[in-house]
């Protein structure tokens, strides 16, 4: 197990290094002078001189990467030429909001998806199963931005429930009750997407598991259906679920921007979109780097969960 994880960790470091190269050279993929792009509207002789000194733009491109990487490893992602705020300060303020959104939506998703998948798998092809199958399929085809528009119209405008509309975000540190109210709508939108995926994956694996002989044995011993599902069938059925969750949560970190943007929640996605609007290149680059690494770390953590659920995978 330790060896398996160590090997995974080495691959992880390798990928992070390559991603950092990608994030760094992103600027050179774009046409035009990098300095002009980075400075954007902050293009003045003083800033230009500061930028050249900071990034070593006079030096060879390979050396530039090492200068940049050394700074990154010291937690220095540069200082925005537009807001004059260090990029890392901006990211540190936004990241907890993404994490809260993801945690809330995932608690909600698992709490809904697991019981639903079990009820479906108990009697495959029953009317309940068919209905859920069709319903989850429909929900899967509704883009998040349409859900947001509809939910804002219904919940915030028609039903006029307070703290659910656009721009109602309140920081957790200020008032946690209002904060939870304002995070409810985005979390539900993200959860709807997750539930449909988790439900479908877990359902089909549970059906396969429930056909195993040890389940028949457990049934013949008179163990209750509920106990069989939760204690005997869930764990061996959850390998694919955990893998999917890892990928999905990574996707939420990278793809949550549209929900944040539409509801004015100042997380990383919102900051990213704003920075793009301001052509604040360094902030965009910093967020790309942080999110990429975040996605990889999340996948690694879920790979670890999988080895806990099924240690055979690590022994292979």
């Amino acid at each position: 197990m330790a060896r398996y994880l160590a090997r995974r960790l080495i691959t992880l470091v390798g990928i992070v290094i390559i991603i950092s190269i990608g994030a760094f050279y992103l600027i050179h993929l774009l046409p035009g002078d990098p300095a002009t792009v980075i400075l954007g509207t902050g293009d003045s002789p003083q800033n230009r001189a500061r930028l050249y000194a900071q990034l070593g733009l006079n030096r060879p491109i390979i050396e530039q990467y090492f200068v940049w990487m050394k700074n990154v490893l010291h937690g220095n992602l540069g200082t925005s030429f537009i807001s004059q705020v260090p990029v890392w300060t901006t990211i540190r303020a936004a990241l907890p909001i993404d994490l809260e959104m993801i945690v809330l939506s995932q608690i909600l998703s698992f709490a809904v998806a697991i019981p639903l998948a079990m009820s479906s798998a108990k009697r495959p092809d029953s009317w309940f199963d068919r209905f859920l199958g069709a319903f989850s399929f429909t929900m899967l085809s509704i883009p998040a931005f349409i859900l947001v528009v509809v939910l804002v119209l219904v919940v915030a405008i028609k039903l006029a429930i307070p703290h659910t509309g656009v721009s109602s975000y309140v920081p957790l540190t200020q008032d946690w009750v209002t904060n939870l109210e304002s995070m409810a709508l985005p979390s539900v939108v993200l959860a709807i997407g997750s539930v449909t995926v988790y439900y479908r994956v877990l359902r089909s694996d549970l059906i396969a598991t429930l056909q195993q002989e040890y389940i028949t044995l457990a049934r013949s011993k008179g163990i209750s259906q509920r106990r069989i599902l939760w204690r005997h069938a869930l764990r061996p059925s959850s390998v694919a679920l955990l893998g999917t969750a890892g990928v999905n949560i990574g996707g939420l970190l990278a793809g949550g921007f549209i929900v944040q943007y539409l509801l004015d929640i100042p997380g990383l996605g919102y900051t990213l979109v704003n920075s793009i609007g301001l052509s604040d290149y360094l902030v965009v680059q910093g967020i790309v780097l942080v999110v990429s690494v975040g996605v990889i770390v999340i996948n690694f953590v879920f790979d670890f969960f999988i080895t806990l659920v099924d240690p055979r995978i690590a022994r292979e």
Partner: protein
Amino acid sequence: MSSSLELSELVEEATETADGRRLGVLFWVCVGWLALNLLAAILANVLPLENPLTQNYNAINAGPSLHHLFGTDDLGRDIFSRVVFGSRVSIEAGLGSMVIGFGVGAPLGMLAAYRRGRFDQVLTVLMYVVLAFPAIIATIAILSFWTPRTLLKIIVVIGVAAIPLVYRVIRTATLAVATQDFVVAAKVQGASDTRILVRELLPNVAPIAVSFLLIGVATVVTLEGSLAFLGLSVAPPTPSWGNMINESRTILQLNPWLALFPSAAMCLFLLSLNFIGDRLRTHFDVSEGKL
């Protein structure tokens, strides 16, 4: 004894094909709907539609009527016409980027799975590294700094981002086929690599490829919508479903039709694509079909 066993197997197989593996009515409804969308998008110029850009200040934010089937928007433009013309952007973006993604990713994936060895290893590691890079963010970042934006650039960026995904799916699908007896038999008979790839492997990988292609188009259509919300899709006044839904946000209470029709068009389009893709996948996946 042995013949009766064979017979029962044959019967079982036949009944399975007869009722267990039919595509179903809904499948054909979805195919029909997609065909209708495609046809309308191609023929939009010929069809008796109002010009999607013509502004009519005598009919602003009008509800649906015989004159304007879906009503008009805040500039008096015909929503029905804009929904039809807007489908072009979604369809072009979806198909265009998938042409790039499959054009590069599919041959590489098949070749890697067939050849194995060093070629496969290097390519697979490379693709997985690219996959680790969050494609959505990279797409947004590149599109936002690569001005002026055109539909072609959007297609190229999304298409390139799709290559490693296509590669992974096609490689896995080919791997499952490449080790089977009939491929080995073809090799033993002295068939050329090209022949094996085209005549033996391709027909078996194609169904999975088609189902993934449809789901890929659906993903790109959704992505175009997201990009429109960020102002990164085609520039107004060109209609696209994403642009229309985005523009409707500010006057949601005043004119809900403006949000409803493009949203419904997009959802039905996505639903059809996903449904057909999913059905094809289960239809050709024997192991899951047995469940």
